[in-house]
């Protein structure tokens, strides 16, 4: 597998896990009964996803060749840029 494809797979896994953990925490906290159980299931899926990422990259698996820490830095930058973009959008809409 090419390095670019490995990087894309790695970041896909990280993005998926972040959303599953975040949404799972929200659903488990604010939901009740079945919704709460679904939230715990999301958290479990996110944890398994993170464990798989750890096994493949940090622990020296198939994705070890990718500069994982720099990629995480890239994700953090992407998040920050997206948040700034959304803030610009909201300010433009509210001020109009």
């Amino acid at each position: 597998m090419s390095e670019d494809m490995t990087l894309a797979l790695t970041l896909f896994t990280v993005g998926f896990a972040v959303v599953m953990l975040g949404m799972g925490a929200l659903v488990a906290y604010y939901g009740s009964k079945k919704t709460r159980n679904a939230g715990f299931a999301f958290i479990l899926i996110g944890a398994v996803d993170f464990w798989y990422w750890n096994m493949q990259s940090v622990a020296g698996g198939a994705w070890a060749g990718v500069a994982m820490l720099d990629s995480l830095l890239a994700v953090a930058g992407g998040f920050a840029g997206a948040i700034v973009g959304v803030i610009i959008f909201l300010v433009a809409i509210i001020k109009s």
Binding site: L7, K34, L73, V86
Partner: protein, 168 residues
């Protein structure tokens, strides 16, 4: 270019990834929201949408210029490629996660409160009877209220009018 050796982890962080991905995140988010607003908005909102699209094109264009056209280049071409791949892959991963969460929540019967509701009581309910009971209760309250609050004030004008009429 913008690397920092971390003594704690023993790792040289390449902050150019952060800058590149930040610009990609800013550009793509602004472009997406601008396209959305320009398509669905009207009047002033639509103009804002076009403005956001222009801003996004400027951000992405300057980033491309500083990577491939400017001499000497400010940003590394490899960082540009890796940053783009990282940003797009992470966004696709997050979108997939959101889709899975929403799909499961829609499939799971999450309306828990209806289970606590005793529907048999509602089926046996006679609405006409309940309405009559309510009307009776309201009428009784009105009567009771009039008697309790009757201090003669309501009758006073009529009495005064009669008295006035007699005097004339």
């Amino acid at each position: 270019m913008y690397s920092w050796s971390d003594p704690l982890f023993g790792y040289a962080w390449n902050f150019e990834f952060f800058v590149v991905a930040f610009l990609f995140g800013l550009g793509l988010a602004t472009l997406g929201s601008g396209l959305f607003t320009a398509y669905f908005g009207a009047g002033k909102s639509q103009q804002i949408g076009f403005g956001l699209i222009v801003g996004a094109v400027l951000v992405l264009g300057v980033q491309y210029h500083q990577t491939y056209i400017a001499d000497p280049a400010t940003l590394d071409a490899a960082s540009f490629r890796y940053g783009l791949i990282s940003a797009v892959a992470a966004m696709v991963g997050m979108a997939a996660g959101m889709f899975v969460v929403l799909f499961i929540l829609m499939k799971v019967d999450t309306v828990d409160d209806l289970e606590d509701l005793d529907l048999e009581d509602l089926e046996d309910l006679d609405l006409d009877e309940e309405l009559k009971k309510l009307e009776k209760e309201l009428a009784a309250e009105d009567d009771g209220g009039d008697e309790a609050e009757d201090d003669g004030g309501d009758d006073a004008p009529a009495k005064d009018a009669n008295e006035g009429g007699d005097k004339e």
